[in-house]
């Protein structure tokens, strides 16, 4: 069966410059490269253009090409090496530690999305995995009834009703949208680890975390991305479509998660 990427989330890495610089670059270049709208006498083409919602396609394709080049030269070899050198068990534990470090952000986003059970899951995962799970290396919380879920600023903004906006392919960050990029910036601002501590050691640890996030995420989607590049006639358009569908699926999952906040051992409320 054809495998599509299991998770096509934004890798949680900072741009090589600050987020503000990235936003400025995008704004500047977006004024330069806009897609040409099809003529109004071709209603099918106009409908397709509107549905694709990618008015900055030329600019996005340039950034895609740049990203792809950087990926081929830097990130993919690192990910391949990581997968080759580091045993699967260690990689899995590393992923758990990194995920645990992102738990505070997930917790805040769950609260802001008005998902109380998810917020409870995030809080318990943070506490249990950090202590019993030895700084997050062992994911004990899932077995104890608090499963993992995805929560980030983009999903929160979607829950608040913000529309997606045109497709953006950001340098380094990859496929995104104004909503998701804003959410990502919000996540960095909300992350306590962004603000804690000063000095060289803290900075080094911070950059290590970002780098490890990038390599870890890239290693996890290694086969899937290779398959897309090999099988797609237009990898950019395929990635755009997959990103949007996956995002919508995440938002739908969050929206439909209305588990009761009454614990399982208590008498459950009767649904009317």
């Amino acid at each position: 069966m054809r495998r599509l990427p299991r998770s096509f989330r934004l890798p949680a890495l900072p741009p090589l410059a600050s987020p503000w610089l990235a936003a400025a670059v995008v704004l500047a270049v977006s004024l330069a490269g806009c897609a040409s709208r099809p003529p109004a006498n071709d209603p099918d083409a106009v409908a397709e253009y509107n549905e694709t919602n990618d008015p900055m396609e030329p600019t996005n394709r340039v950034f895609y090409a740049v990203n792809d080049g950087l990926d081929m030269v830097i990130l993919r070899p690192l990910a391949v090496g990581y997968k080759y050198v580091v045993p699967a068990v260690v990689r899995s534990h590393t992923h758990n530690v990194l995920a645990n470090l992102s738990m505070p952000v997930a917790l805040f986003n769950d609260i802001l999305s008005a998902r109380p059970r998810r917020a409870g899951d995030s809080l318990m995962r943070l506490l249990v995995n950090s202590t019993v799970g030895v700084a997050g290396a062992f994911d004990v919380a899932t077995g104890w009834g608090w499963p993992a879920h995805e929560a980030d600023g983009g999903i929160t903004l979607a829950m608040w009703g913000l529309p997606e906006g045109p497709f953006l392919f950001l340098p380094v960050l990859g496929p995104s949208s104004p909503r998701d990029a804003g959410g990502f910036a919000g996540d960095i601002a909300m992350d306590p680890l962004t603000w804690v501590g000063q000095g060289d050691v803290v900075s080094a640890l911070g950059y290590t975390r970002y780098a490890m996030n990038a390599i870890d995420t890239r290693a996890r989607v290694l086969d899937d991305l290779d398959k897309i590049k090999a099988q797609a006639l237009d990898p950019y358009a395929t990635i755009r479509s997959l990103y949007r569908q996956h995002r919508q699926s995440q938002i739908d999952d969050t929206r439909s998660d209305d588990r009761a906040t009454v614990p399982a051992w208590f008498i459950q409320p009767q649904r009317p």
Binding site: M1, R2, A237
Partner: protein, 203 residues
């Protein structure tokens, strides 16, 4: 008189039969769709996990896919609005190439799926068919969610879409082809040439 009564009765019976609504041959219940998917994944898993060389398994998988997936329907969907503007010869060639490329993509990495198992979940009605949930378990990777959309436009139940972790196969493929066509002057021939190149590269 008996003859007249007989004629009247049979005429009434005939009218009653004609007045009945047509039997819902096209409608399918979620249970039927679930049973169909269960059969399909059992056959798929059995082939992948069973004995034989990779080439044998690929041939068997192709037979199963031909039987259970509405490949032509998916192909027409993926071409979208350009199907009507294509010449009949182009349509035929496109269907043939789409079929070959799809088979190559699906059966290309048979070895990776050794030990695969499926768990079928619940079924729900969608516009276009019945969506059957399932979970795919592969040793060494976390379980992933795969949903199967079963339609009956061709009469028998057939798979018309596969949705892996929320992303639809045919929607993604349609976006890919639409973007390729937009960058090639909406020429279906260019798409056919590209597909032919893909089929020969991977075949």
């Amino acid at each position: 008189m008996p003859t007249r009564r007989f004629i009247l009765l049979s005429a009434t019976a005939g009218l009653a039969v004609m007045g009945l609504p047509p039997s819902p041959a096209r409608a399918q219940s979620p249970d039927q769709a679930t049973a169909f998917i269960e059969q399909t994944v059992t056959a798929l898993a059995g082939t992948v996990n069973g004995p034989g060389s990779v080439a044998d398994k690929q041939k068997k998988l192709q037979v199963i896919i031909d039987r259970t997936v509405d490949v032509d329907g998916v192909a027409r969907f993926c071409l979208g609005r350009f199907w009507r503007s294509a010449l009949p010869a182009q349509q035929k060639e496109y269907l043939d190439l789409f079929h070959r490329v799809l088979m190559l993509n699906i059966t290309g990495k048979v070895g990776e799926y050794q030990g695969v198992s499926f768990e079928i979940g619940k079924a729900s009605a969608r516009d276009g068919g019945i969506l059957v949930d399932s979970t795919v378990n592969r040793p060494g990777t976390p379980p992933s969610k795969v949903d199967w959309l079963v339609g009956t436009e061709t009469g028998a139940p057939r798979i018309i879409d596969v949705i892996a972790e929320g992303t639809s196969l045919r929607l993604t493929q349609r976006s890919d082809y639409a973007a390729y066509l937009a960058r090639n002057n909406n020429s279906v021939q260019a798409l056919i040439d590209a597909l032919r190149q893909q089929a020969s590269q991977q075949g």
